[in-house]
Subunit: 210 residues, 2 copies
């Protein structure tokens, strides 16, 4: 299947995916035609179906995977190094900044649009993204527990799940309202409560980094 694929071929394929992704972020999944992708990437129908034998379906799946990966990449290296309160804060700031500048042109926009339909494929990709995301957060919490910055009796998985939910909801509301209020509130209040938990059960000193 994916056997022969010249250097040039791979480049073209990548160009198509990236171009389609951009187009979709810009105008929404169901507003993008194959012709748009062709125009925007300087390719022909022949090429589209050459690299994506399953047609639009396959292309959209590739785009979804591309975007899902990008979402996490955009948060690195911060997301993988949540080892101090300033680090958490920096990650929080990065998230807000990123989504604010993206505005409505959010990768999620394209991903979610596919959630319902195209069940098996797109859904699996989104699920995978969420799982990896939550996993990273969980690890961050666990690390903070190991340093005593978060109370040991906090259920890391549960807290990570709540935080992730807050983020997703915040982004969703950013998408509909255009404001980052919800995202900020969800992030800040959830992080505050994690910090508060430490103070209550672990009082050996003050971790003054606010």
């Amino acid at each position: 299947m994916t056997r022969a694929l010249t250097r040039k071929g791979e480049a073209t394929r990548a160009r198509i995916v990236a171009g389609a992704a951009a187009e979709i972020r810009e105008r929404g999944v169901d507003e993008v035609r194959l012709d748009d992708v062709m125009a925007h990437t300087g390719t022909s129908k022949g090429q589209l179906f050459h690299y994506f034998p399953d047609g639009k379906e396959g292309l959209l799946l590739a785009v979804a995977q591309h975007e899902a990966d990008q979402v996490l990449i955009d948060q690195e290296p911060l997301l993988s190094n949540l080892t101090s309160w300033p680090a958490w804060q920096a990650w929080r700031d990065r998230l807000i900044e990123r989504y604010l500048e993206q505005g409505v042109k959010c990768p999620l926009n394209g991903l979610l649009g596919q959630t319902g339909r195209r069940a098996p494929g797109a859904q699996a990709i989104v699920t995978g993204l969420m799982w990896r995301w939550q996993q990273a957060i969980t690890e961050g919490i666990r690390h903070m527990q190991s340093t005593g910055d978060i109370a040991p009796d906090v259920d890391a998985d549960r807290a990570a799940a709540a935080l992730l939910a807050g983020i997703q909801g915040g982004v969703l509301l950013l998408l509909t309202t255009g404001r980052t209020d919800h995202l900020e509130a969800a992030l800040d209040l959830t992080l505050d409560s994690l910090r508060a938990g430490a103070r209550m059960s672990d009082t050996h000193e003050g971790h003054g980094n606010d």
Copy 2:
């Protein structure tokens, strides 16, 4: 415009909206054809365009409004009476129960599918829904502050925003993962932190309702 509209006419119109809404919940916005709606509601093309001169666009908008209203109605009378911790708990339980039984067939599914595209109309409807929703939560928090169950220094609007974000994200994750974990975690942890806030700054007595 909306002048003449017989009893029978209104019934038909309502039947179309309800049927289309059901169909959309079931199979997703972009899988539903006008023919499906006709079949499912026992109507003809003539009727569809008679009651929705703007065609599918108008119908979808009507469906969106219908679903948005339904989302809040489903939470009543609990949502408008968040006046004690048990009341909050009951509301929380209702939310989880509702969404669990709905599973993927969530009204939001249809609403969100339209968010990106059809910008002005659908977006306004979703925004309106979110605003009303958050407003109700804010009022609940304010009431709890008036009875001393929540610390007065809590920013009710901000807390409501965070809670709403958690809910939306939780539902979104329920839609993709099929599990209510995120929704539960978001609700419980946020409510816990509201409760905790009261205990810390308002210690005149124990509000033992947990």
